[in-house]
């Protein structure tokens, strides 16, 4: 038996916005928003997730990879070559930036899965990709999958988030959902992979807080084949969402009822049908309940969600302007980039959910309201 119990605790700042009409904007706004909260980070990690950035490759899995050395790259490429169709690969564009030191090798691959292989393995395509990500992270020394979704990508590094954004040239990407994170870890591996967001397929998550239930969340997910290799509680949150939403096909609303469950004192007073449903969720997903302080933003291919812990031990503010929903730790980070029509503070455990409009329903409107 081997137990890996290390946990990386961190406090943080987070912000994100989504244009429901899929109006894509470059990374300047999100960088301004997260830089407004530099006070909440300490230069030990910053990161971004962006959705809608690869329209020309929207049906390929975009793997953003970090390698500590050439051996890791070689081993990973051998693995990818064996298991995927590599449509394209290139170095992820970066620029020399003050405050970003000692970058690893950063590489990007657009991958496809051979139907034949899936058939032979009797495997769901997304499970196949998840297994590959788990394998690379756990088994190939020095290799780390920064993101693995379609038409999206994660960009992260050790440094203040503003510098990280410049380093990755985010001003040159256009996305309809942007999520950002500045990190304040209390024990620092100083490792690029440890920055947020954490991603799996097209799920990306930025997190502010500490999950006191990490020990059991991790062991719970391991039962279902997830390998928590990154030593952080945010990683398990990403995997938890993957399991609840993708594998167990729960809606986001229902999934949040499981991970930030209402108290029994509330549940017991609900009408019978609701009470039965919420009781069953807590019975079945008790080990997935996230306990301890958190605010997080979850990005995915169809939208964005923000949520707080059960007793709101971390700040979280939401705002709206036109078709855009903003979520951040602090209202100032939103006002830095927009003059919202409505600002509100979601209560403990209450999710803020925004979904993209299906492409066919979108009437081209005036450009987005973001002032930069």
């Amino acid at each position: 038996m081997h137990y890996r119990f290390e946990k990386d605790m961190s406090a943080c700042g987070l912000t994100g916005f989504i244009s429901r009409n899929r109006n894509r904007v470059d990374g300047e706004a999100i960088m301004s928003s997260i830089c407004n909260m530099d006070e909440r980070s300490n230069g030990q990690g910053g990161g971004f997730a962006a959705y809608g950035i690869y329209p020309e490759h929207k049906d390929d899995y975009a793997f953003h990879m970090l390698y500590t050395d050439a051996d890791a790259k070689e081993a990973t490429e051998k693995y990818l070559d064996r298991h995927f169709l590599i449509i394209e690969d290139d170095e992820l564009p970066t620029r020399k930036t003050a405050g970003i030191v000692d970058p690893p090798l950063i590489w990007r691959y657009f991958l496809n899965v051979d139907e034949e292989v899936l058939h032979m393995n009797a495997c769901d395509e997304e499970d196949y990709v998840v297994n590959a990500v788990m394998f690379i992270n756990a088994e190939i020394p020095g290799a780390f999958v920064m993101s693995s979704g379609k038409n999206m990508g994660a960009f992260k590094a050790v440094g203040f988030p503003g510098a990280v954004g410049r380093f990755y040239k985010l001003d040159e990407y256009k996305a309809w959902t942007w999520i950002a994170h500045g990190r304040f870890p209390t024990n620092t591996p100083g490792w690029w992979g440890g920055a947020h967001p954490f991603t799996l397929l097209d799920w990306s998550i930025v997190h502010n807080g500490e999950i006191s239930s990490y020990g059991i969340n991790k062991r719970y997910l391991e039962m279902f084949g997830y390998k928590a290799t990154l030593m952080t509680d945010t990683e398990v949150t990403a995997y938890l969402f993957d399991m609840l939403l993708r594998r167990h096909k729960l809606s986001i609303e229902v999934a949040t009822m499981a991970i930030a469950a209402p108290f029994w004192s509330q549940i017991d007073h609900l009408p019978e049908e609701e009470r039965k449903a919420l009781t069953a969720l807590r019975q079945v997903y008790g080990s997935g309940l996230l306990n301890g302080p958190f605010a997080f933003i979850l990005g995915h291919k169809d939208g964005m969600v923000g949520i707080n812990d059960r007793i709101k031990l971390r700040p979280l503010v939401a705002a709206e302007k036109g078709d855009i929903l903003y979520i951040a730790n602090e209202e100032a980070a939103i006002r830095e980039i927009a003059s919202p029509d409505r600002v509100w503070m979601p209560t403990a455990g209450e999710p803020v959910i925004a979904n993209l409009k299906p492409e066919k329903d979108i009437v081209k409107e005036a450009p987005s309201c973001i002032k930069v």
Binding site: M1, Y3, F5, K7, M9, A11, T186, G209, E210, S212, S213, Y214, G215, I216, R219, Y220, E222, M223, F224, R247, H248, K249, L250, S251, E253, V254, M257, A261, F263, W264, S265, E273, E274, K276, A277, L278, A280, L281, R282, Q283, V284, Y285, G286, S287, L289, L290, N291, G292, P293, R310, I311, L313
Partner: protein, 504 residues
């Protein structure tokens, strides 16, 4: 006959100046230590009979008595403490097996005492249970891996039917103690306290007295190898059924209640003649294999129409992890593990002290094995075996238990002083006896109150500790070994327990 060489273990000292010859001690002592000589107006004590239960000391109105370990001692020897010498003398005099009660008293390591708990500082706030909700509600039963809940008009609606679950308002239940081993009044106290506390008590293998059917929703009924008192109505009277395969205090051996304890009420409840020994066979004679167990589990599920969880209790033995895995796969809704320090009314001393293993190790191994096999959700894990206080309980839950059974601690709250003479049927505290003169010493009203207080006190402490960890629901502690650290254990022990050493 040769003079007995067994020495008195206790010394009874009477302050003759304080003694008023009221003879309370004489009436209280069921072992007949005290006697009164009217001619001399003097109390006498036969120390050889004294078991050290302290009943006379407690009830002496003038505090004239004290009972302590006997000063007279043999020459101290590392390999030959008096315990060893006495046992040999006893066997030389009787030619019999040694009998004992309660759990193992040898100095096997108590791992609870080598585990420390975590608390929050700065990076996450501790939660104040006086001001914030703190949830201990626990469910016992098989859980599916996933559930289908859909939103209908914005409200969640359950589309999956869950197997039956027991609801506990606190993760502690009263362990299996049979009517026969303990008295009617004690059974009643346990049943009422479980009901008042929103938890369960366990009938043990002695059937269920008709008077207690009313506490059925808070009762786990047992089905053991003797099948005493097992019938369809009994099975359906409880909230869950537990198949007792083994007991931590005496793995591999069935329960024994001597005929002296089998009075009319017990005879009716157990469905055996008055005065006959109630000897449970060592194995269930219809379970010689895991596939046989599966048949019994499903026979019982049929009997209760799949409306109640059916679990299996085993003693913590070397192969517990593999056995528990088999039990879960055989269809049990919960597995009960009973450790080496688990109590008993009567067990061969040698078995009690040397067979099985501490519950901490068995629990850690079983929980880990069930997780490795991906079947931990399929059954709840209940553990028993010498829980002394609320932190033992917290540590057990952090190691992976869903709930614990407390037995000895419950009896202590009713007066038991762990004198280990339950098997004599003469319990001076009126707990493990059927003598009407003694059983009335436990008043069910007071007993219920004391047991309820105990559960309440421990629950409050558990909430306090949970809040300190920054956790507000017990399910976030269950199996969360990150909140445990060990002190003074070697690497093999850490590995089996799945915890890090303090400082790591």
């Amino acid at each position: 006959m040769h003079k007995s060489l067994i020495k008195a273990e206790f010394q009874v000292e009477r302050d003759d100046y304080k003694c008023i010859r009221c003879r309370v001690c004489e009436r209280q002592c069921s072992f007949e230590v005290h006697s009164y000589d009217a001619d001399a107006d003097r109390m006498f004590e036969d120390e050889l009979k004294c078991v050290g239960c302290q009943r006379c000391v407690e009830y002496c109105p003038t505090r004239a008595l004290s009972v302590q370990p006997h000063k007279s001692t043999i020459r101290p020897h590392g390999n030959w403490p008096y315990r060893a010498v006495k046992d040999i003398c006893k066997q030389a005099e009787t030619g019999g097996m040694l009998l004992s009660s309660t759990g193992d008293e040898l100095h096997h390591r108590i791992y609870w005492d080598h585990l420390v708990l975590n608390a929050s500082q700065v990076t996450n706030p501790s939660i104040d249970p006086l001001r914030e909700p703190m949830e201990l509600r626990t469910f016992i039963g098989r859980k599916p891996d996933q559930v289908d809940v859909q939103l209908v008009n914005g409200k969640p609606v359950l589309k999956t039917e869950l197997p039956p679950q027991l609801t506990l308002e606190t993760p502690m239940m009263f362990g299996a103690m049979s009517y026969g081993a303990i008295s009617y009044n004690v059974c009643q106290s346990l049943a009422r306290a479980a009901t008042a506390s929103g938890t369960m008590y366990n009938t043990g293998e002695g059937g269920l007295h008709r008077d207690f059917y009313q506490y059925g929703p808070n009762t786990i009924v047992q089905c053991a190898s003797g099948r005493f008192g097992v019938h369809r109505e009994y099975l359906n009277a409880g909230a869950a059924v537990e198949i007792k395969v083994g007991q931590g205090a005496k793995p591999g051996i069935g329960g024994h209640v001597p005929g002296e304890k089998v009075d009319k009420e017990i005879s009716i409840t157990r469905m055996i003649p008055v005065g006959t020994d109630a000897l449970s066979p060592a194995p269930h004679h219809d379970i010689y294999s895991i596939e046989d167990l599966r048949q019994l589990i499903y026979a019982l599920k049929e009997a209760v129409e799949y409306k109640k969880p059916v679990g299996v209790k085993i003693a913590a033995v070397h192969n517990a992890a593999a056995i528990a895995s088999g039990i879960v796969r055989a269809g049990a809704d919960f597995v009960t593990l009973d450790g080496l320090r688990g109590g008993t009314g009567a067990a061969p001393t040698r078995t009690r002290d040397s067979v099985g293993m501490p519950i901490e190790l068995a629990l850690a191994a079983v929980d880990q094995r069930l997780r490795e096999e991906g079947i931990r959700n399929n059954a709840s894990l209940i553990v028993a075996g010498g829980f002394r206080n609320s932190t033992d309980v917290v540590k057990a839950i952090a190691l992976g238990a869903d709930a614990v059974y407390i037995g000895t601690a419950a009896l202590i709250s009713l007066g038991c002083t762990v004198c280990q003479k339950c098997y004599t049927g003469k319990c001076p505290w009126g707990i493990t006896t059927q003598d009407p003169y003694l059983t009335k010493r436990v008043n069910p009203e007071i007993g219920t109150q004391r047991l309820t207080n105990l559960l309440r006190a421990w629950s409050l402490e558990i909430k306090e500790i949970l809040g300190g960890m920054g956790i507000n629901a017990i399910e976030s502690l269950r199996g969360n070994r990150l909140h445990l650290r060990a002190i003074g254990l070697n690497e093999r022990e850490l590995d089996v327990l799945g915890v890090m050493h303090a400082g790591e």
